[in-house]
Subunit: 381 residues, 2 copies
């Protein structure tokens, strides 16, 4: 056993496609589990056809499936079902993100499977969950971002609808599913039993609303989008500088006072700005005053000055600058993996750093469709 993480020695049967499920099983793989990805014959994971492409290979797919083995199986075909069943019989965890009912139809629903394999952890991630009036509706990230309220608080007042620039509906559900699987593994150590995990993307959207949901449920206020502004802390937003913008997050009175001293403007003693409540009320006036001053230097000049004075601040990096940050390099957050046709491919690393385990900068291979068929068939028969 190659002990390269806490989940070493565990086998994950991965029936997931696109983002929510593959994101979860990628983390399980990063944590040391062996992941066998079962894909539809010929087409494979839908995301194999999502751009951008390198030599016909989807960079999107590659960035989510490092360190997994691939076998193509048609779960409606009797012979393929037998192969699947053999892998299943040795698996610790099954992860799937089909529409509820799909695996039941193919004879692999939780009820049936758990009778035969009571130790199996069976995790289902779906758009709306395994229960409730919407359970059969199809969902994609955009749909739950809209339905769950997040889009209503993202963007600028009166702007056209704005989605979060990453598929946060999928990603948060992938993260909650991964938490659940790990907790179920601990549970199984105590009880000897597996379980069914049911995570819905819409539920996860509700769970991350934070300030906005507290505001509505406690006060009946319906918050709207605020651009870059925080709804209850000021100053806590992006300000114009000489060349672009700077984010300043002076989250308490002390930080605000320090910022005023650095800027040599005496605002912290002024009634309108002396505490967070007053600053929040008068934020438009405050912003005008601050921007007059901030537009005298560039973002990088201000960042240097504020950092020296321990005032939380930062630039708005584009993806290139973000990825090339020295901190990101030092934290090994850009890693690479091999693909048998493309060669070396770069992608985001694993943000979970654990003292007993290495955090390798080269990860397990990215599978071509059905690449590990022979190896898997030889092993599971």
């Amino acid at each position: 056993m190659n002990k390269n993480g806490p989940l070493s020695g565990l086998l994950v049967l991965d029936l997931t496609r696109v983002l929510v499920g593959p994101y979860c099983t990628m983390i399980l793989s990063d944590l040391g589990a062996r992941v066998i990805k079962v894909e539809a014959p010929e087409v494979g994971d839908d995301s194999r056809s999502f751009g951008p492409f390198i030599d016909d290979q989807s960079a999107y797919f590659m960035s989510l499936n490092r360190g997994k083995e691939s076998i193509a199986l048609n779960l409606k075909n009797e012979n393929d079902k037998k192969i699947f069943e053999k892998i299943l019989s040795k698996s610790d965890i099954l992860v799937e993100n089909f529409k509820p009912g799909t695996l039941e139809k193919w004879g692999f629903g939780y009820k049936k499977v758990s009778k035969k394999y009571p130790k199996l952890i069976y995790a289902s991630a779906s758009g709306f969950g395994q229960t409730g009036p919407f359970k059969s509706l199809p969902a994609y990230d955009m749909v739950v971002q809209g339905m769950g309220g997040l889009m209503s608080v993202t963007g600028h007042p009166n702007s056209e609808p704005t989605r979060v620039g990453t598929s946060i509906g999928d990603i948060t559900a992938g993260l909650f599913t991964t938490i659940a699987i790990n907790a179920a593994l601990y549970d199984r150590k105590q009880t000897g039993k597996g379980m069914h995990i049911d995570v819905s993307m819409l539920d996860c959207q509700i769970a991350i609303l934070e300030n906005a949901i507290a505001r509505y449920l406690s006060k009946g206020e319906i918050p709207g989008p605020l651009g870059s502004r925080h709804p209850s802390i000021a100053p806590f937003e992006a300000f114009k500088t000489k060349d672009s913008y700077i984010i300043i997050a002076a989250g308490n009175d002390k930080l605000f006072e320090n910022m005023c001293k650095v800027l040599k403007i005496n605002l912290h003693t002024h009634e309108k700005f002396k505490n967070n409540g007053n600053r929040s009320k008068n934020i438009d006036d405050l912003k005008k005053i601050l921007e007059l001053k901030l537009q005298t230097k560039s973002t990088s000049e201000w960042c240097k000055i504020f950092e020296e004075n321990k005032i939380p601040c930062g630039p708005i990096n584009n993806i290139k600058n973000a990825v090339e940050s020295p901190q990101v390099a030092e934290r090994n957050m850009i890693v690479s993996a091999n693909h048998n046709k493309i060669g070396n491919f770069k992608m985001a690393g694993n943000p979970i750093k654990m003292s007993p385990y290495k955090d390798p900068s080269t990860r397990g291979e990215i599978p071509d469709l059905d690449q590990h068929r022979k190896k898997i068939l030889d092993e599971f028969n």
Copy 2:
């Protein structure tokens, strides 16, 4: 032992404040762990002073700290350190989100603590991590949203800077920390040893960039904000209707064809729109044609029609509509907890649904500052 989740019987010593840490320990509590929150005397968790308020109690704090016990301790005071040490000696997990080095200064750094308590799982969440050139810089959600690149892909082309309307920098780091703690619990069952977990908010921002990072690392393209539009799937955005907007996520050719049939417009056979690649190139033209049609009915009329035809769609709900959705109710995603001064308080529920465990609609009490002092002192001495 009240067996109300997989982590029942485990003790979490919670030194966290504001969002990233408290979000993590709330999930640990939801999973059944006992959480003792150590707060600074007099002021407590900083978020106790964040609005909105109900009778001087922060709804923000209340929404993140259900089911935890509170004791106020000054970790610079020798007597309080002794009390802390007694709780620590019985703890399975310590979670903290101080700036790196803070707990070392007070004599409770990982190295020292782990020598005495080798089974302890010690989880540190921070803005930039325990290592690297930025480790000592202060960070808030806004700062890492800006620095990590997410803000550069959120918003409309040429719009002012736009943050995600929820503190996704804190929340994703809270989720990754929770995954790590659960994996470490499983690991401890195998090895008998604890570990140090080091999660950085900036690392997590890199880990969720998805499409944007694949695009940059594979093609050198620097993606910008696209409003509500998906960068590689079309149609996959918000469209104007008679009364507001509808999100349509026709993620593949079959769904697009079905949508065209429902709308009675023959676009799917047209060269410009016949596959996803062509539709992506001609999305502005496609949007104009679709909106002409979609503006003949209201969002709810279209949603009904599309849902009947299994085309992924949805409204852009405000927070009220999102929270009051029948699906959200059916999934028990709005729960309540008692606060000894406020009474019943409503908040988001737990999106992790596990077959062996109940998902109660009433959760453990929200602690007032130092509320459980006597009980905790009586128990740990």
